[in-house]
Each structure stands twice: as structure tokens, then as C-alpha cells.
């Protein structure tokens, strides 16, 4: 295994890397924190206006600026906080902690991102959205459950196949093409309750950043997007608690210093009580069932000294479902990450992470049943990351890093009265990257980099050999090949593993810029699911002998403009994206507990292109945004066998192709106590496959589905309304509470999730009918009481 040895050597040699520093300038570096609780601020801007230079804090709140000796006026900005300007005399390298006071009266009720007000124009980032969770909490929410993922779908380029669908789609990408990170740990299933809600407890989340394009080289492993969710570190100044009681769930969060200014702890939990809704049903098949979820978020950080800080984060969530005491089903994620932030020098920031992620599901009968069984499935990964940021000069920052992921796939194991299992699979995914941010003048900004990834599918495992490996079937299976533990079954490396990333910004003036980006991304694991919305029992499979890694190439162009001192901002982006080796499925594929899963899969290509418009008002009593996406996403699956090719090998619309997608989000601060918010969403109906006829077989009227996704369900639109009442904080005990009221689907539109076709009556009739399924067919009110002290 020479290639594996190469990676091992590189891993060992990496810490020896050392770069010198420029002696002509000094470094001003440190952290930007919230003065009230010590929380680091991600993406805060630290600028030196007279020199026209500046930088933004990284995901750990760290910044570093190279400046000549002398006095400098340094401005620190972050939306929702009072801008601070201070004079710093720099005679040598200096480390500072800059503390920003929260704005006394926050009238910016809805913000899509933090950072400085004109960051959207000036930064090299495009196709990026950042959510401020505090503000998201005031938007109308289904059953009052604040949901950052659902809010993301109100932004251009992000959609779902329908309400209550697991996951989301970004610029024509499937749900498994989103790299969802919770404190750097990948999350394999981001939904509770089959897709009704996301697993992210908004109380425990500090920052959510979505990359739809121009993805930095430090991210890899998924094709279409990165959702980087950061948990709050915990108040390192004083203990505090907050929580809420809603119709669906209750939640609580406690945070405080273990050692003031040095160490803090955050623990948050949620538990739903949907079981009570089940009991409202008259149907004993429903009212004796169990269905609930819970999750626990925790984070501990410890500042060893000015140069070293440790973070330990964890998440554990579970959905539990039972039919009386006859059948149990549960699923959930467990993640953990240990991170070490180290300042190797004032200009060299290093993060080293050890990460663990585990997704499991289990279903079966109780153990005490005479004929019992339990089916378990699991995917685990063990992740090592070593990331360096070197602040070379005022206008130049270099990032590089190395990472490796070891996967253990356990697709299925049945125990109990009958015992059987599918073979486990193992894989290693090493990667390295180098990226440079460079501002050669006042107008140009570049970020360019290269990521190199590879993938090794390893034994022990037995692999079927097929006469036609391009189109394996059970009928043309030849032989079985055995591989020993750790033995290489299939490796993917070489030139194909290069993933160039490039972004450029050209500032026309202080308020206008053009941006362009290109990124190539590779994905080596695939969610095997042929349902419209993924389910908890869908499993990931690694690239191997018959499943190829998928690749995306994406270019994007954008025009960004702000008006009236950044009160309004607008952006228009166009993108074109191609997909290679995406997984599709044979008609009628059997994906459950199938050892020869390759016989059910097909490989295809895809393309997506579109225009995205975002117009936002950031300041004043009325805030909000309008977003519109015009896009088209198609797939194509060719095969020599015409009965296998989908739609005769022609392009067909993807399940989540929606031509028009429009959202309007408004929030108005009536007075210091009351605010109101509203959402309106409109989307073209998603594609479905219509029957082009029927035939009789026995007593069945069988639909003939020929052209996949050649028809569309009626368009979707919905209006939500909410109000938040927040009385002044009580001076004596610091207790504060607020109420959120609202309605989801105000005009009770029966938006079709789907239209399906069925044989109408029982008996001998062959009549057929079209049936519209609406998930939320009525007004859904909500009320939530929130508190903190």
C-alpha cells in the first residue's frame, strides 16, 4: 500500500512545517468577544480605516493584522453590537482581546449575517449566507420550533422537496451533498421526526454559515454546500439559564464560567412531547404509539494560557418511535469534537481537532417477544484535522492543513430469533489543502487554493465480481473476491482528486463589486435512498469497486451593491454547475438490507444553473429580505440496456427542480416590547412522474410511469405571521421572559406535498384517481414562552 504510506509520512512530517515572519511589521492579533458574556464573535471585522486594511475574525473569533510600527486607529464592527474604535500603539507584536458591547436597542430585527455592514460587497466570499440565530428566533416558525435549517430555505438557492422533508437542496444538489458540521463534526441526519424539524437546538447555536459556492479549500467531502454550525462556547463571566416551553417541545440551557475568563461550560437539552398529540386520536393504532425526540448539546472550553485553548463539544440526539410494545424504532446522531487552538506565533494560528461522529438506527421487536429481531445500522467516522492560518502580511493570509477521516460503515445487522448481517465496510479519506487570500490593491481581492483528496476502500470484506462491471446484475455475477483486514479494495487518487478553488472580488467603488468563483468538489460517500425525502433507515455507502466518487464543477458570477450607508444591500448571482457520477437507481430498486447494492444503482450526470437575487434591508424598524431564485436542475442516466436507462437516456428534471422560488421575510419593531414578523414563500411545484396510461394485471389497475418527473404538482405558497412580546427585564432578579405567538400557513392553503395515483374503490372496479397529499393542510397556530435569568 504505497499510497497509504505516502499519506502517513505526510501526516508525520506536517508539524515540522515552519514559516518565517516578516521583521518589518508587527502583528496586532487576538480575539473579539462579546463584552457581556465573553463569547467569541465569528466574522467580526477589525479594520484600520486610514490604511484601508482590515480582516475578519475566524471561526474561533481570532484575528491577526500585520501593521507597521506606530499608532493606529482600529475599528471593530459586528452587527448587533456597538462599533468600537480604539487607538493602539504598536511597537512590537501585540495580543489583545477586543470586547464589543451589544447594541443597547436592537432594531435590526432580522439579519442574515454578522460581520461589518458592507462585508457582502468587500469580501471575497460569494454564495454565502450567515444566520444570526438570535434574530432568527423572532421569525414565524412551525409549531414555534425555531429552526435554522428551515430559515436557510428562505434564502436564494436553498430549497426542499416539500414540507416535512428531511434535509435540503442547495443549487440543484441532493440532500446528501451538504456537509453539515456541528462544531466541525459531520452530522449524517440533520432532521428530527422524519424531517419536520432540524436537530439544531437554536439556543445552543451561535453561528450558522452556509456556503453554496466558492467553497474554501479547507472544506471537502461533499459536493454542493457546507453548513458550518458553531455552538456557543458558554458564558465565561456569569452563570445564566434560559429556556422555553412550546407546543411541541420544551428546552433549557445553562451556561457559565467554571473559572472566570478562563473556562466555561454550556449544557442544553430539548425534549418533545408529541406523544400527547398522538393520544388525541381516536384510533387505537395511533393513540397507543410513542413518538418523541430529545437532544443534548454540550460544550466545555478551557483557556490554558494566552496561546492555547481547548474546546470539547458534544451532541447526542435521538428520535424514538414505538407501536405499543410490539415494535420499536429509534435513530439519532452522536458527535464529539476535541479542538486545540494554538498560537504558534502572533501570526500563526493552528487548530487541531479530533472528531467523532456516529449515526445509528435500530428497529425491531422487544427482546422479550418469542420471535424477536432487531435490525441495527450505523456509520461512524473518526476524523483528524490540522489547520494552519499564517497571517503573512497586511494583505496576505495563507491557510493550509491536513486531515484524515476513517469510516466504518455497518449497513445492517439483524439479531434475535434470526441472525444475519450485511458486511461492514471501511474506508480512509485523507486530504490536504493550501489556500491564499490576497489583496493586491484597493480594488482586487483574491482567494485561491487547491485541495487534494483521495479515498481508499479497505477490507476486510468480500466483493462480488461481475461479468459486466459497468452494469452489475445478480444474473451476471461471476465470483466472490475476498480481501483481508485493511487490504485495499479500491483506491481513488491521482489527478482526479485535485479540487481547485478560486474566488475574486473587484470593487467598483465603496458600494459596488463584481465577484466570480469556481470550485471543484469531490464526494466519496453516498446516501443510498430512492425516496423523494430521505428516511432514517437510509444508509451511506462508500465509493468502491462499483460506486464511483462524484464530482461537481461550479462557476458563479455576482454583482453586489449596497445603498444608503449599507441600509439596503442587494446581490445578483448566476451559477452553472455540473455533476459527474451521481448515484441514481434502477426502477423498482430494492435498497433495504441488500448485500449486492451495486446491482440496484446507476450512475448519471447532472447540471444545474440559475440566477439568485437577494435584496435586504438591514437597519431601521422595518428589516427583512426578499429573495428570488430562477433555476433549472436536470439529471441524465444513460445505459446500454434501454430498460435500465432513465427516460431513454435523456435529461430529466431532478426531484427538487423548482423553476421559481421566492421568499419575503419582514420584521417590524412596533415598540421596545412588541415586534411582528411575517414570511411569504412561493415556489413552482416540484416535478412528479405522471401515469401515461394503465393496464390491468389480475385485479390491479397498474399505472404506467414512463417519463420520470415530466409533470409538476401545483405551485406552493404560504404566509406565516408572528408576534413577539418582550417586557423589560426585571431589575431585581434579572429574570426576563418573552412570548412568541403566531400562525403558520395563515390562509390555510392545501399545498400539495405530492399528487399520487391510485386505484379508486375496493372490489372489482378498475377506476383510478389522482389524490393530493397536503402535509400541513390547515392553519397551525403556535405559542411559546421563553425565559432567561
Amino acid at each position: 500500500m504505497p499510497k497509504l504510506r505516502f499519506w502517513l509520512l505526510l501526516l508525520l512530517a506536517w508539524p515540522l512545517t515552519h514559516l518565517g515572519q516578516s521583521p518589518l511589521k508587527y502583528s496586532l492579533n487576538g480575539y473579539v468577544r462579546d463584552a457581556s458574556n465573553g463569547e467569541t464573535l465569528i466574522g467580526a471585522n477589525v479594520t484600520v480605516p486610514k490604511r484601508g486594511t482590515g480582516t475578519a475574525t475566524n471561526a474561533y473569533g481570532y484575528f491577526s493584522l500585520s501593521l507597521p510600527a506606530g499608532k493606529h486607529q482600529v475599528a471593530v464592527q459586528y452587527i448587533g453590537y456597538q462599533t468600537d474604535t480604539l487607538e493602539i500603539a504598536l511597537q512590537k507584536d501585540k495580543q489583545v482581546t477586543l470586547r464589543l458591547e451589544p447594541a443597547a436597542t436592537t432594531l435590526q430585527e432580522v439579519e442574515v449575517k454578522g460581520q461589518r455592514a458592507d462585508a457582502n460587497v468587500r469580501s471575497t466570499e460569494m454564495s454565502v449566507a450567515q444566520l444570526d440565530v438570535k434574530q432568527v428566533k423572532k421569525l414565524p416558525a412551525l409549531l414555534g420550533e425555531v429552526d435554522v435549517i428551515r430559515t436557510l430555505t428562505l434564502l436564494p438557492g436553498v430549497s426542499t422537496v416539500g414540507e416535512a422533508s428531511t434535509g435540503f437542496n442547495v443549487r440543484g444538489g441532493n440532500t446528501d451533498q451538504n456537509l453539515i458540521l456541528l462544531d466541525e463534526a459531520p452530522v449524517y441526519n440533520s432532521s428530527h421526526l422524519f424531517g419536520f424539524f432540524s436537530i439544531f437546538n437554536a439556543d445552543a447555536v451561535k453561528d450558522v454559515k452556509l456556503y453554496k459556492g466558492g467553497i474554501p479549500a479547507r472544506y471537502g467531502g461533499r459536493l454542493s454546500s457546507v453548513v458550518d454550525v458553531r455552538q456557543i462556547d458558554g458564558n465565561n463571566q456569569a452563570w445564566e439559564a434560559e429556556g422555553g416551553i412550546g407546543l411541541l417541545s420544551s428546552r433549557a440551557l445553562v451556561q457559565g464560567p467554571l473559572v472566570k475568563d478562563k473556562s466555561s461550560l454550556m449544557v442544553a437539552g430539548r425534549r418533545s412531547y408529541i406523544d400527547l398529540f398522538l393520544k388525541l386520536s381516536d384510533d387505537p393504532a395511533i393513540n397507543q404509539n410513542i413518538l418523541y425526540f430529545y437532544d443534548l448539546n454540550t460544550k466545555l472550553n478551557y483557556k490554558l494560557n494566552d496561546k492555547n485553548q481547548l474546546f470539547l463539544s458534544g451532541y447526542f440526539g435521538r428520535d424514538v418511535f414505538g407501536i405499543q410494545d410490539l415494535f420499536n424504532f429509534d435513530w439519532g446522531n452522536l458527535t464529539g469534537s476535541l479542538r486545540w487552538n494554538h498560537l504558534a506565533s502572533d501570526q500563526l494560528f493552528v487548530n487541531t481537532s479530533l472528531i467523532f461522529s456516529d449515526y445509528t438506527y435500530s428497529l425491531g421487536t422487544p427482546d422479550e417477544a418469542a420471535f424477536n429481531f432487531k435490525l441495527r445500522s450505523r456509520i461512524r467516522d473518526f476524523h483528524f484535522k490540522n489547520q494552519w492560518s499564517y497571517y503573512l502580511a497586511e494583505n496576505s493570509t495563507l491557510h493550509w492543513g491536513l486531515e484524515g477521516i476513517y469510516y466504518h460503515f455497518e449497513p445492517g445487522k439483524i439479531t434475535g430469533s434470526v441472525e444475519t448481517e450485511l458486511q461492514d465496510a471501511y474506508a480512509l479519506e485523507p486530504a490536504a489543502y493550501l489556500e491564499h487570500e490576497w489583496e493586491p490593491g484597493q480594488r482586487w481581492k483574491f482567494r485561491y487554493g487547491l485541495r487534494y483528496s483521495s479515498f481508499y476502500n479497505l477490507g476486510a470484506r468480500q466483493v462480488y465480481d461481475y461479468a459486466n462491471p459497468q452494469l452489475p446484475t445478480n444474473e451476471n455475477r461471476n465470483d466472490t473476491l475476498s480481501y483481508g483486514s485493511g487490504e485495499l479494495i479500491q483506491g481513488y487518487d491521482g489527478w482526479a482528486g485535485l479540487e481547485p478553488r478560486f474566488s475574486v472580488t473587484y470593487l467598483l467603488n465603496e458600494t459596488e463589486s463584481f465577484k466570480a468563483s469556481y470550485n471543484r468538489t469531490r464526494q466519496y460517500i453516498h446516501l443510498i435512498s430512492n425516496t423523494t425525502s430521505p428516511t432514517p433507515v437510509d444508509i451511506y455507502r462508500p465509493a468502491g469497486e462499483y460506486i464511483q466518487p462524484a464530482t461537481v464543477n461550479q462557476v458563479a458570477l455576482g454583482y453586489f451593491r449596497n445603498f444608503q450607508q449599507n441600509t439596503y444591500e442587494a446581490s445578483l448571482e448566476g451559477y452553472y454547475k455540473t455533476f459527474d457520477n451521481i448515484v441514481d437507481y434502477r426502477n423498482g430498486a430494492n435498497l433495504i438490507f441488500n448485500e449486492s447494492i451495486e446491482t440496484e444503482l446507476l450512475s448519471g450526470i447532472g447540471r444545474s444553473y440559475g440566477l439568485e437575487l437577494l435584496f435586504r434591508k438591514n437597519k431601521g424598524r422595518l428589516t427583512g429580505w426578499f429573495s428570488y431564485t430562477l433555476s433549472k436542475t436536470e439529471n441524465r442516466v444513460r445505459a446500454n440496456d434501454p430498460t435500465v436507462a432513465i427516460n431513454a437516456g435523456e435529461w430529466y428534471p431532478a426531484n427538487y427542480d423548482k423553476r421559481h422560488d421566492l421568499s419575503l421575510v419582514l420584521s417590524y419593531q412596533l415598540n421596545p416590547k412588541w415586534s411582528i414578523s411575517t414570511n411569504f414563500a412561493y415556489q413552482t411545484g416540484r416535478p412528479i412522474t405522471p401515469p401515461e396510461g394503465r393496464f390491468q394485471y389480475g385485479s390491479f389497475s397498474v399505472p404506467i410511469y414512463r417519463d420520470r418527473n415530466s409533470y409538476r404538482i401545483p405551485d406552493y405558497h404560504r404566509l406565516d405571521l408572528s408576534a413577539t412580546y418582550q417586557p423589560p427585564r426585571q431589575e431585581d432578579d434579572g429574570f426576563q421572559s418573552s412570548w412568541s405567538f403566531g400562525v403558520y400557513n395563515l390562509y390555510a392553503r392545501r399545498n400539495p406535498y405530492s399528487v399520487f395515483f391510485e386505484q379508486a374503490a375496493q372490489g372489482g372496479s378498475f377506476e383510478t384517481q389522482a389524490v393530493r397529499l397536503s402535509i400541513f393542510a390547515t392553519i397551525i397556530p403556535f405559542v411559546t414562552w421563553n425565559f432567561e435569568f
Binding site: 398529540f277 415530466s710 375496493q762 400541513f776
Partner: protein, 291 residues
């Protein structure tokens, strides 16, 4: 796992969701041949020929008459099926099959649209042996019995020895008072239960029907019948797809797909007809329910 089963049990849905019938215009394709053929070791071979029709067309699809239909055993023609004078499109012969033999259907339709006229043949189907259905018993079951039942009541349970050796597949046909459960697809494979006796030791009997409705006083007792039919893996797969595709549309259903059987044009193997020709051995039993 039936994914729509998961969906229907998601408790919020009965409170928030709804289904209603809507009018839609859907595309219409040209007629194609449909074959429903069956040779068994017990009953005369029969084949029903029809064509496809518009999806929302009412009642019966058009029948295909005047076809020449032949049954081949191991490559040799063993019977010509004749059209029934009273039922257009139904062809029968007195021939019964033998376990272990391979059967094939060959038919010629002289006139009709391009997707109907021509000569067609099936893939060969092996008539596999079937386990003997030893008995059907009626037992009262509830949540605390073994096997348990969600709803307490009288259930019909089948007892039989699954044939040792992997690769056995069964189709189960049930009827109550001669009324066949027509809309059910009940097919089994022997993976995990190969060679087991259903109804002995840890393996429970096969649940066939229940709970029985309590009949009015003095009413005739119910007669419940079950027939086990041996089928090939290919037909089992066909039934699985058929079952999956008859109702699709919830978030957890697979994408709609074309259901192809084992009938192809002799001139162009990429040209297919709908339906299936199958071969089965059968075993039956019945029980009378007296509450």
C-alpha cells in the same frame, strides 16, 4: 420496510394533513400489449390478453382477440390456448404443468397498433415445487399472546414446512367465502427462514387473516381459504415492484417506475409488453370460522 407505513404513523399527520381527490390532465401514450399468463400443476393454463388504456379511462381495458397463443415446455410446444367464446381476450388450455419443467409463452397477434400486433414471447419460467400447507388454525390473539396482535380477535394462522435450500419464493392467495382478497400482494422469500417450520418452536405460524368480524347470529360461518403458490425470484421481484408502485406519493415512497415483466417481442428484444407469464405449483387449505 413499507415506508408509507412509517409515514402514516407519524402522529401529527392525522391532525394536520389531508388527502383529497383532484382532477388532473395527464399525458396518454399509445396502446401496448398486456399479458397475464399462468401455468400451474393443478389448474388449466390460462392467458389473458389486453391493451393499455388512458389512465383515467373507466373500467375494463380493451381485450385482444384472435391471437395465436402457444405454451412451450422445455422448448417444445405442448399446448395451444384457445380464446374463450364468452370472455374476449381470455385463452385457455387443459394442460397442467409439472414441477421442474421450464415453460415459455409464445403468441402472435395478427392485427393491432404497433405496440400490440406481432409475435411475442416470455422469458422461460421454471415451475418450482411448493411446500404443503399442512393446516390453517384459528386462534385468539392479543398483545400478550405469541404471536402478538395489535388488535385482539380471532386470526387465521398457517402451518407449513418451508422447503430446505435457499431461493424459494411463495405467493399467498387468500379468500373469504370465495371472495378473493384481490388488492393484496402477499409474497414471501425464504431468506432468514430457510427450512423453518412455520408454527413450531421459535418460528410463529404465518399470519394469514384477522381479526375475523363477528358474524350476525344464525349467519353461516365464514370459510377462509389460502393457496400457496411457488414462484420464481423474477416474479417475486415483479410483485415487489408492483406492490411498491401501485400507490406512490408520500415522502417515503420510492420514485414511480415502469413495471416491466417478462414478455418481449421476438423481433426486437428491446420492445416489451406489460404483464407477466408465470409458472407455479400450488397447495391449498381452508378453515371454517365459528365464533
Amino acid at each position: 420496510m413499507n415506508r408509507s407505513f412509517l409515514f402514516s404513523l407519524l402522529g401529527l399527520l392525522p391532525l394536520l394533513s389531508c388527502q383529497d381527490v383532484v382532477d388532473l390532465e395527464v399525458p396518454e401514450s399509445e396502446p401496448q400489449l398486456v399479458v397475464d399468463g399462468w401455468v400451474t400443476d393443478q389448474q388449466p393454463a390460462r392467458v389473458s390478453l389486453s391493451t393499455t388504456d388512458a389512465y383515467f379511462a373507466e373500467e375494463q381495458t380493451p381485450r385482444v382477440s384472435n391471437a395465436q397463443v402457444y405454451l412451450l415446455e422445455n422448448g417444445d410446444t405442448v399446448a395451444q390456448l384457445r380464446e374463450n367464446k364468452d370472455t374476449a381476450g381470455l385463452y385457455r388450455a387443459s394442460f397442467t404443468g409439472q414441477p421442474g419443467q421450464r415453460y415459455r409463452l409464445l403468441l402472435t397477434i395478427p392485427n393491432g397498433p404497433p405496440g400490440v400486433a406481432g409475435t411475442w414471447q416470455s422469458e422461460p419460467e421454471t415451475l418450482r415445487p411448493v411446500p404443503t400447507l399442512d393446516s390453517i388454525n384459528i386462534r385468539r390473539l392479543d398483545r400478550n399472546t405469541q404471536p402478538p396482535a395489535l388488535e385482539a380477535g380471532a386470526y387465521a394462522l398457517g402451518y407449513f414446512q418451508e422447503r430446505p435450500g435457499p431461493g424459494d419464493y411463495l405467493n399467498v392467495t387468500r379468500s373469504l367465502n370465495d371472495s378473493i382478497f384481490q388488492r393484496d400482494i402477499f409474497a414471501l422469500e425464504d431468506e432468514g427462514v430457510d427450512g423453518f417450520y412455520f408454527g413450531s418452536g421459535l418460528v410463529p405460524p404465518l399470519g394469514l387473516y384477522g381479526p375475523f368480524d363477528t358474524p350476525p347470529r344464525h349467519a353461516d360461518p365464514d370459510t377462509f381459504r389460502t393457496r400457496l403458490e411457488s414462484i420464481t425470484q423474477s416474479y417475486y421481484d415483479f410483485l415487489q415492484v408492483l406492490s411498491e408502485q401501485i400507490n406512490v406519493g408520500t415522502p417515503f415512497d420510492a420514485a414511480p417506475a415502469l413495471i416491466l415483466g417478462n414478455i418481449r417481442s421476438t423481433r426486437d428484444s428491446s420492445q416489451y409488453a406489460f404483464g407477466y407469464f408465470r409458472a407455479s405449483a400450488t397447495s391449498s387449505a381452508q378453515v371454517i370460522f365459528r365464533p
